[in-house]
Structures are given as C-alpha cells and as structure tokens.
Amino acid sequence: MKSSSQDKQVLLNAAPISPRLSIYRWRLTMLASIMHRASGVFLVLVIPAAFWLLLTMAHDNTNYMYALVWLQGPIGTFLLWLTSVALFYHFSNGVRFLCLDAGWGESRTMMKTSAKLVLASTLFMAILLAIKI
C-alpha cells in the first residue's frame, strides 16, 4: 500500500491510530507520552549494559576494580546520572500509565495534573542526583 492511500484510510476511520506529530497540537500529556517512548528507547540501550556490568562485577575481583574505576570516571558518572534520570521518568510515568489502564485519574484535569507531577518530580530528581552523585 502507498502511504497516501494509508493516510486516506486513517482519515476515513476518523480516529488516527498512530501518533502523528505534525497533525496533533502539542499538549503536556502528549509530551509525557513521547518522552516515555524516548526514555524507553534510551533505556533499551543502557539497562541491559548495566545488568551485564553488575553481573560481571559480581563474578570477578579484577573486573570489579576495572568497572568501579570506569564508573567513577567522568563518562561513567554522567551515564549513571542520565540513566537514573531516564529510569526515574520512565518508571513514574509507567506507574501513571498503569493507573490510567486501571481506570484511575482518567479525567482531563487529572491526566494533566499527573503529567505535571511526573515531569516536576523528574526535574527534582535530576537536580538531586546531580548534587548527590
């Protein structure tokens, strides 16, 4: 199928099924949803690596020392911070999505409030971790 006929099909169906960034007006809830995807893609690259790192560290004393030195260097520290922030966002917004699936807080104002809450707490967490790490 050509893309133009697909577009027509979507319009005929009244409700577009895939996110069309150029058609929808930007809203806070939409930003929260897009950022959930973006942080998810980032975590796919990083979390398996963190899992591998931790297990490798646990299996060998020399690996433990190498990994610890690398982690405490500038690249390791920055990656750990970025991963923690992305994970915190994906985690809290994931809880928000699970609540929405369960039917809690589905009203327009509640969705906006919870999106604000998630974004604000992520910002707070980013600053806190930047100081702490």
């Binding site: 199928m1 893309s3 697909q6 099909q9 979507v10 169906n13 409700a15 099924i17 895939s18 996110p19 995807r37 998810g40 893609v41 796919v44 979390i47 398996p48 963190a50 899992f51 591998w52 790192l53 931790l54 297990l55 490798t56 560290m57 646990a58 299996h59 004393n61 433990y64 020392m65 610890l68 982690l71 405490q72 750990l80 991963t83 923690s84 994970l87 985690f91 994931g94 809880v95 699970l98 699936d101 790490i133």
Partner: protein
C-alpha cells in the same frame, strides 16, 4: 462501534497485556538493580558482599525472571514503536525479525552469564574445564 483499522499489527491485546505484566515485574526488579549499582558506586558494597548476594542460586533464579521480564518489555515496547513509525510492511518485518534475533541472543548470553559460575563448579564440558 467496532474499529475496522486495527493498525500495522492487526491485533494487539496480547502485546498490550504482556507489556503490563512485564512492567509490574520490572517495577519490583529495577529499583533493586539500580540501587545495588549506585550503592556499589558509592563504595557501600565491597566485592565480597556483591559476589555473595548476586551469585547465590536464589538471586540467580530471580535474575533469570528479571531477564525474562526485561526482554519481554523491550520486545513489546519496541514493537509498538516500530509498528507506528516504519510504514512499509517489508521494512517492518525485517526490522522486527532482526530485533527478535538480537533479543534472543542477548537473552541466551545473559542467562549463560548468570549461571556460568554454577556450571564451572559442576565442571560442565561446554562451559570449560578448569
């Protein structure tokens, strides 16, 4: 009213359901994992303790369950994204199959790493005689 256009996947309930199930598993597992990594980074967990905790057979079994939930969540999450943004059917099938192969490889590699030490103590042939 029944929707006639179900999207690129044509069906979606199972993916949706397992994405939620694995999400709840990760909700429990990931804070523990990252907490361990942060505590080790800050020097609160020495090598001996980390080794003792993570190489215990119970921890290894939980690691396997965590790995299963993680790969399942990665698969369902990336599948939805790919189905949304890769519009040609051929491209979609190619990308999804390559992704599946990568995830399977990752799963085998990680489960080998998780159980490797036990295999050594049983002196299993393919895992290397020490």
């Amino acid at each position: 009213m029944k929707k006639t256009n179900l999207g690129a996947a044509h069906t979606g309930f199972h993916d949706w359901y397992w994405q939620r199930v694995s999400a709840v598993c990760l909700l429990i597992g990931i804070p523990i994992l990252l907490g361990l990594l942060l505590a080790t980074y800050n020097g609160n967990i020495p090598f001996y303790t980390l080794n003792l905790w993570l190489t215990h057979p119970v921890a290894k079994s939980f690691s396997i369950l965590f790995l299963l939930a993680l790969t399942m969540h990665i698969w369902t999450g990336l599948k939805v994204i790919i189905e949304d943004y890769v519009h040609s059917t051929f491209g979609r099938i190619m990308v999804l199959n390559v992704l599946l192969l990568i995830l399977l490889g990752f799963g085998f590699y990680m489960s080998y790493h998780i159980w490797a030490e036990l295999s050594y103590s049983f002196s299993c042939l393919p895992c290397g005689l020490r």
